[in-house]
């Protein structure tokens, strides 16, 4: 029951999602998505973890004064903010350019009935 969630204008109860999932277009989208999201997020988390570890175990290095009383810790902290902004913009550009057109194409096919049940033969494309 509970997942009547997405019933909307189009009746999608006859869509063969397994066929969509197996289709090369979807596999391509899935690959594009995962090969961007996983490594980028992993890199960000490692960078953050490195910052936390430095703050705890390399206090002397972090306390080095760089400009006046501004020390390495503050600069690395602000660098975390900058990288967060940069990754955000990078992701948006990538998603707009690569995810959206692919997802839209598959969505249109689903909603126009290409993947309705018993239509498995027509899926190969």
């Amino acid at each position: 029951m509970g997942n009547d969630a997405l019933s909307a204008e189009v009746d999608l109860s006859h869509v063969d999602y397994h066929a969509v999932q197996k289709s090369p277009e979807f596999q391509e989208l899935r690959r594009t998505h995962r090969s961007f999201v996983f490594p980028v997020l992993a890199a960000c988390l490692v960078w953050y973890l490195a910052y936390v570890l430095l703050a705890v175990y390399a206090v002397e290095f972090m306390s080095t004064r760089v400009f006046g009383s501004i020390n390495v810790a503050m600069l690395i902290g602000l660098a975390q903010v900058v990288t967060t902004f940069a990754v955000t913009m990078w992701y948006v550009r990538f998603a707009n350019k690569h995810f959206d057109p692919q997802a839209e194409r598959i969505r249109d096919e689903i909603e126009s009935g290409v993947f309705f049940d018993k239509a498995d033969e027509g899926v190969a494309n």
Binding site: A8, Y17, F26, Y48, V59, I70
Partner: protein
């Protein structure tokens, strides 16, 4: 320099403070009333008819996320503990990348109203929905406690109400107002309160930041020198003042850092905001807006924290009613006198009110939608019954929050919120990630992970130094000591444990889930066919 006469008196003018706050309440009430005229269906009440734009929703997310912990808590922590307080800001911000990259869009595409919708998509409805509602209620409760505790501290400072009974009365008034907003406004009204509050908070913090910098010739280094001079401690500029004292406190800090960065993407009230927009693309835009607003705000906290140390001084802050939580209002007083104090305090009140409203509607939606409509009524509630149950739940949660808030009055806010993050990251994150990305994941894995994560996090908190064993613990005495768990944040144990349990439960599960549902969820999460669009009236 600032002088406080007695611990119970307010530095400002209590009537001015009440007046400014009253004006805020009056204006927002009018807006909430106007916004709520079209609240008819469950989609209107829980998801504001999915009619908000990415920019509006992004501001509302910032309004929901920048809680009293961020404003009062972090500024106070930096003023008192120096650099270590800033680490909260960074953790709270970087955490948004997890939400942006892994969760926001996929969630928008697969769910309807609550976290339970997504988690139970391809697993067994009943047990998973109940578990999701339980963890949602638990996380919201911890978060609510923190906000209400903040309200109590703020009140003692502003209105000069020092005694417990007076503060309890004010916490009750704040709780009552919050119930009214949510009952009347639903998600639409709540969202507007959050948008207004986000604008007020970021503007207020921005003005104070520029003011503090201007007083030091826009030389941040000179501000730091002044802070060191007033605090009489050069170590406030370096990490380690609070968490560097022992091996144990260092591990405690790692635990905190982990909870902060992994908690955001698992906070039910943040997840629910993704449903108020019409498409996954708008959900993406919302998160981007939110990241910009939140990031800029956290940079302000660095200046405000050291500004409070330089212009007010750690010893004055420590002695003030409300303790470290009063650093930001005291800084406002030092800069702009009673008027700025009144304005900034109204902003802080608005902050608490908006966050409490967001938490309450999330908890109520989860109970009414996941437990009542989906489990009790097996997905077929009578028309209008679900929203009615949600409204009643709002009142009950409001009363619980008031009682809890009176109990938690005086606790450190940023710290309490960090516990809510730890509980969220342990109880929810593994199941969210597994169900979106791991094909083989099963119901048993989900239940083990959610209950295992929730129980381990709460048990470890109960037996931590936060609750017992010292004069600064919740029990406020050294006589009772059952703190056998040495860390004050459980994340470093409970988060990996919950991930492990999710894996173990799945591997040991002899049954498998419906593969057709897995296909459907994966396809929908990435492409969003037929995702419920905006409703128009």
């Amino acid at each position: 320099m600032l002088h406080l006469e007695a611990a119970s008196s307010s530095p400002g003018n209590p009537w001015l403070n009440i007046g400014i706050f009253g004006a805020f309440v009056a204006i927002t009430m009018v807006i909430v009333f106007r916004a709520s005229r079209n609240n008819k269906t469950a989609a209107d009440y829980y998801a504001a008819g999915r009619s908000f734009t990415g920019g509006q929703n992004g501001s509302a997310i910032a309004g929901d996320y920048l809680s009293a912990a961020s404003f009062l808590g972090i500024v106070g922590a930096i003023a008192m503990n120096g650099y270590d307080g800033f680490l909260y800001s960074i953790g709270f911000l970087v955490a948004w990348l997890v939400a942006l990259l892994l969760v926001a869009e996929l969630l928008r595409n697969t769910g309807k109203f609550t976290m339970g919708d997504v988690l139970s998509f391809r697993l067994r409805q009943r047990p998973v929905r109940i578990a999701a509602a339980v963890t949602t209620l638990a996380v919201s409760f911890f978060y609510l406690l923190a906000q209400m505790a903040g309200a109590g501290g703020l009140v003692s400072l502003l209105l000069g109400i020092g005694d417990g009974v007076g503060q309890a009365v004010v916490i009750t008034v704040v709780g009552g107002l919050m119930i009214l907003y949510v009952l009347v406004g639903g998600m639409k009204g709540t969202t507007w309160v959050q948008i207004i509050k986000a604008v007020m908070l970021i503007t207020g913090a921005g003005v104070m930041t520029v003011w503090v910098l201007a007083m030091n010739g826009f030389d941040f280094s000179a501000l730091l020198d002044r802070a060191v001079e007033v605090a009489e401690n050069p170590a406030i500029l370096d990490p380690g003042l609070k968490y560097g004292v022992s091996e144990l406190s260092k591990i405690d800090f790692l635990s905190l850092g982990l909870a902060l960065v992994l908690g955001t993407a698992a906070l039910p009230h943040v997840l629910m905001r993704f449903y108020t927009v019409p498409t996954a693309k708008e959900a993406r835009k919302s998160v981007v807006w939110a990241i910009w607003l939140i990031g800029i705000f956290y940079v302000f906290t660095l200046v405000l924290g050291y500004g409070a140390a330089a212009l007010v001084g750690p010893s004055v802050i420590a002695a003030a009613p409300g303790g470290p939580n009063s650093a930001a209002p005291l800084l406002a007083f030092a800069l702009g006198g009673p008027l700025l104090l009144g304005l900034i305090s109204a902003v802080a009140f608005a902050t608490i009110l908006a966050v409490v409203a967001g938490l309450t509607i999330t908890a109520a939606a989860s109970f009414a939608h996941d437990i009542y409509a989906s489990v009790v009524k097996k997905g077929e509630p009578e028309p209008g019954a679900e929203v009615k149950v949600a409204r009643r739940t709002v009142v009950i949660i409001g009363i619980v929050a008031i009682i809890g808030g009176i109990g938690a009055n005086g606790q450190n806010i940023a710290f309490l919120v960090a516990l809510a993050f730890a509980v969220a990251a342990s109880a929810n994150l593994p199941t969210i990630v597994y169900s979106l990305f791991w094909k083989r994941f099963t119901t048993k894995g989900a239940l083990w992970s959610m209950y295992g994560g929730l129980i381990s996090a709460i048990v470890l908190i109960a037996f931590s130094p936060v609750v017992s064993g010292s004069a600064t613990s919740m029990l406020k005495t050294e006589a009772i000591d059952f703190a056998w768990f040495p860390l004050s944040n459980p994340g470093i144990i409970s988060i990996p444990l919950a991930f492990f349990l999710g894996w173990l439960g799945t591997v040991l599960d002899k049954g498998t889930e419906d593969p057709a549902k897995q296909s459907e969820m994966e396809v929908r999460s990435l492409t969003g066919p037929g995702a419920e669009k905006a409703t128009h009236h």
